[in-house]
Symmetry: C2
Subunit: 133 residues, 2 copies
């Protein structure tokens, strides 16, 4: 059986929006006919996005590893291979890897007239470690 990764890891994500090491591979670039970019993201252990929100919402498909996902005001949710998450429009949230295992996801993010993503503050260590509390 072919156990090689499905998608290439791509390039390092911009450090200004992430904590730790994150890789992004665009799979589908938006255009005027299909304005829904799709990307593949690999979070190394401990890495996570900053808090952010999407004007058009977002879907995450967990392809492997162990991920963390949190919407503001809710507890961290653990994501495992095969999980699918629908994040509602304009709800602040973050996602990333667990502290010890990387996380691989596909992200589907509509590019609306009011934009695709608004970045907010970093996820603090206290927030990131709140699962154990």
């Amino acid at each position: 059986m072919d156990t090689s990764p499905i998608f290439p890891k791509g390039q390092r994500a911009p450090a200004r929006n992430f904590t730790g090491t994150v890789w992004v591979q665009p799979l589908i670039e938006a255009d005027s006919a299909f304005n829904i970019p799709v990307g593949y993201v690999t979070f190394e252990p401990g890495a996570r996005s900053h808090w952010h929100r999407h004007a058009g919402g977002q879907v995450l498909l967990a392809l492997g590893g162990i991920g963390y996902y949190q919407e503001r005001g809710k507890p961290i949710q653990i994501l495992r291979k095969g999980d699918a998450v629908k994040c509602p429009p304009n709800v602040p949230h973050w996602h990333g890897a667990s502290p010890t295992v990387e996380f691989r996801q596909v992200a589907i993010t509509p590019n609306t007239a009011t934009g695709r993503v608004t970045w907010l503050q970093p996820v603090s260590d206290k927030e990131y470690n709140s699962l154990d509390k």
Copy 2:
């Protein structure tokens, strides 16, 4: 390494829209806030959709196996693990497995005001086998 399938195979797809055996697992159901259903589809060898078109276009992500994809008036395109296809709105097309190897895909299909899919005629054996000609 965990080599189990990422998503469950789901249920048999309706025979009226497919030739051969096809399995569909909904991953994301559309709602008023995120009206972009996402599904996982497994085509057994030789199986394929009928010709159809999407008012909002469609993205296919090839997760494994060997797939066929054809837009009307163009040759069949072979899809392998990691390939991503963007099918423009209203372009008649079909997709399925190769004759001897199954095909596993994620389909992202916006549910527009004018609908999600319009089914057309079956793919004939002559059309399906046109790759070898």
